[in-house]
């Protein structure tokens, strides 16, 4: 009797630490995506990981394995995810396709390829895509100690990169042509940012799944925008909102048996966005209304 709660508690701690780190890292890189006006890149990226997952599975089965070795699946996910965002970047750079169209095309085509490959996976005897479903819809509750180590290591690497490169990334976000003239290699910097986003997305897959992973990138950053106009503070706020939302969601879904973790995390984050939109001191509704009233008083006319 005493063993059970301890195990659950232990599992919950694992999940809490893992999701907190994931939320923070996704919040950090999400800020740069938002400022580059590529918020939905994470959506295309998430969907573009599917063919990689299926391919990795087929390759591992072909090599005689079970096909469910997580690092292998995530490596495959990262490979096609990165290929997808590289395609988007190149398509946009040719000047023939606008970036929203490029994202949508890559998303649809890569996901289609993934579905076709999954169709083949289902035909593999002894296999079935049971282990892969959890990467599509996410399942944080099944996180193992080993998974946590992976998440922690990768999240730390991404976090360090963001801190080290924050100046270059800032220039890239606000004035790409200046960055180019200032001698910064914008293509390389762009690829570094995409690689960081890819890593954050891939570690997010097993927690929230590839369809909802974009929420971890977009919502904390968009919410943080209401709190401050200062980039450094926005990064901190976004990371804080991301990790708080992820932990709250994960623990909520763990305590109300079998609610899907990813979905609960997304809804908690959405609530955070709603609260920020109303109460955020920099651009929230209340702050804007107050500054509007002050401006009206200064002009000498009462607000209607």
């Amino acid at each position: 009797m005493t063993g059970m709660p301890a195990a659950i508690l232990h599992g919950a701690t694992l999940v809490a630490v893992g999701t907190a780190m994931l939320g923070a890292v996704a919040g950090l890189v999400g800020v740069f995506l938002l400022l580059r006006r590529r918020a939905l890149l994470g959506d295309a990226l998430g969907h573009a990981t599917l063919p990689g997952i299926a391919l990795a599975f087929l390759v591992m089965v072909g090599l005689g394995g079970s096909g469910r070795w997580l690092p292998g699946l995530l490596l495959g996910a990262a490979a096609t995810g990165l290929l997808g965002v590289a395609c988007i970047s190149l398509l946009t750079r040719t000047g023939r396709i606008r970036d929203d169209t490029a994202m949508a095309v890559v998303l649809g085509v890569f996901f289609g390829l993934g579905v076709a490959l999954l169709g083949i996976v289902q035909r593999v005897p002894q296999a079935g895509p049971a282990g892969l479903e959890s990467l599509i819809y996410g399942r944080a509750a099944s996180m193992l100690r080993e998974d946590l180590l992976w998440i922690a290591a990768l999240a730390t690497v991404v976090g360090l990169f963001v801190v080290a490169l924050r100046r270059d990334l800032t220039v890239l976000c606000f004035d790409e042509s200046f960055a180019r003239t200032a001698g910064r290699r914008t293509i390389r910097l762009d690829l570094v940012l995409l690689a960081l986003v890819t890593v954050a997305t891939v570690i997010g897959l097993q927690v929230v799944g590839l369809i909802l992973v974009v929420a971890l990138l977009v919502i904390p950053a968009a919410a943080a925008r209401f709190w401050t106009d200062h980039l450094g503070r926005m990064l901190i706020t976004s990371a804080a909102i991301g990790s708080a939302g992820a932990v709250t969601g994960a623990l909520l879904s763990a305590s109300y048996a079998d609610l899907p973790t990813g979905a609960v995390i997304v809804l908690v984050l959405a609530c955070g966005y709603g609260i920020s939109a109303v109460a955020g001191p920099a651009r929230g509704l209340l702050a804007r209304r107050r500054s509007g009233r002050l401006a009206a008083r200064a002009m000498g006319s009462p607000m209607p």
Partner: protein, 456 residues
């Protein structure tokens, strides 16, 4: 597997109808930079279905509603009309909420879209999970995602004594609806897509057009999801439209080309789904996925090969232009050598070209070959000479060059030692009439600023 007539043909036809229905609103989404809206709206299908279903369950259980609407107790909560209505409503709500977040809260439009559709999709997942306890439920999220074109053909209706797949009827209806809707709204959508500010002033109401387009997209996404799955709807909406955009710049043509590309993707995709896996020793795979891949292949072909906007034709045009300029420069070099009484060997031409024109030996060689092919130069014992036609062409180039130098010095007050480079560029775009006009401006001038004769 090979194509078996009635079954596989039905599947391809259903896929083609879905593709046409999606491609038409897709063109406008692409033009309005709302390509990702197709994705957002198609995600709304899941919560819409679940919501409609749960609402019906709740209504049939609640006593007070049963007394007002007695039929509801016997109604099937899985009735397609109820679920589809729910999906369409949520689809439209996605668009409306996105606009609200964008305009009222000033959140970036892409981010607003992401926040709205992920929240709604998450809500849908939770509703399905909650409803799973109820025995009357069998909604499979995976099925909603991927669809099943293969099974859609087995669900048939009896029309005029014949068995017709239900999906064929719904998708055909939606394709027809979108076709007529597009025709009727073409003027309004064209104006509001290309110039919202103008259309507002002209009283065309961009907001209403936007809402209509969103409704059209939602209806299409909902009708098509059963066949191709929600997420592949986005591929069907955007990819053919993006391909068509590369092939034409006229809106009417773009709509027709997009529809045709959609049909081609559907047929090619189904063919690939039943034949391609055989190469690797598997039986077949999911048609909806392969339709998206086929669309992607056509898109990639267009990106590289489209006559005007393709990467390769553009590169070839640039290359051809560079070649023409280099060949003309070589003609000029030979003409000037003739003036000075020199004959040039291949080695000297190569050396001077790489020094003065900054080009490598291979390009010089292919430019020489081009001139020889056209009969402008001849080679005799390792020396180049101009033929009559080559000399005439070279003379007009050198004439234009020296006229421009004189003009720049006399009328544009450029110092004589700075005019050569500019004249080098202008000589390639100066026709006979322009040269004559320059000559008229310069009057009776026989020599250029460097004291060389201007050929007549």
């Amino acid at each position: 597997m090979t194509w078996a007539h009635p079954g596989d043909t039905w599947i391809a036809v259903i896929g083609a109808l879905a593709a046409v229905a999606c491609a038409l609103p897709g063109c406008f989404l692409v033009l309005r930079r709302l390509a990702m809206m197709g994705d957002a709206i198609s995600h709304a299908v899941l919560p819409g279905l679940a919501g409609g279903f749960l609402l019906m369950l709740w209504a049939s259980d609640a006593g007070s509603i049963r007394t007002v609407l007695p039929w509801i107790a016997g109604a099937d909560p899985r009735h397609p009309l109820v679920m589809l209505t729910g999906a369409i409503v949520v689809g439209i709500l996605t668009a409306v909420f996105t606009e609200l977040l964008h305009e009222r809260l000033r959140t970036d439009r892409g981010a607003a879209m992401g926040i709205v559709f992920t929240s709604l999709f998450a809500l849908g997942l939770i509703m399905i999970r909650r409803a799973a306890d109820d025995v009357r439920v069998d909604l499979d999220p995976a099925c909603v995602l991927y669809g099943s074109l293969e099974l859609a053909r087995l669900d048939t209706l009896h029309i005029a004594g014949r068995e017709v797949p239900r999906a064929l009827v719904t998708l055909g209806g939606v394709a027809l609806l979108n076709g007529t809707g597009t025709l009727i709204l073409l003027r309004v959508l064209r104006a509001t897509s290309f110039d919202p500010a103008f259309s507002q002033v002209a009283g065309l109401r961009p907001r209403v057009a936007h809402l209509l387009l969103m409704t059209m997209t939602a209806v299409t996404a909902v009708a098509a999801f059963e066949a191709v799955g929600t997420i592949l709807v986005v591929a069907m909406i955007v990819t053919p439209a993006a391909t068509a955009q590369l092939l034409t710049r006229r809106l009417g043509a773009m709509l027709i080309v997009a529809a045709a590309i959609g049909i081609a993707s559907a047929i090619g995709g189904h063919w690939a789904a039943i034949t391609l896996p055989g190469v690797f020793g598997f039986e077949d795979t999911v048609t909806s996925g392969m339709i998206a891949v086929a669309g992607g292949v056509l898109f990639a072909l267009a990106i590289f090969l489209a006559p005007r906007d393709g990467i390769l034709p553009a590169r070839r045009r640039t290359h051809a232009l560079g070649m023409r300029i280099l060949a003309e420069d070589l003609l000029g070099m030979l003409y000037r050598a003739e003036e000075a009484g020199e004959r040039l060997s291949i080695e000297i031409v190569r050396a001077r070209a790489s020094a003065g024109l900054d080009v490598g030996p291979r390009r010089v060689a292919s430019a020489c070959a081009r001139l020889r092919r056209r009969g402008h130069i001849e080679t005799a014992d390792g020396m180049f000479t101009l033929t009559a036609s080559g000399r005439a062409l070279a003379r007009s180039l050198v004439r234009a060059h020296r006229l421009w130098e004189s003009f720049l010095v006399r009328h544009a007050e450029v110092p004589p030692d700075h005019v050569h480079r500019t004249a080098m560029e202008l000589e390639h775009v100066t026709d006979a009439a322009t040269a004559r006009a320059l000559e008229d401006r310069l009057g009776a001038e026989a020599l250029d600023p460097h004291g060389r004769e201007i050929p007549g």
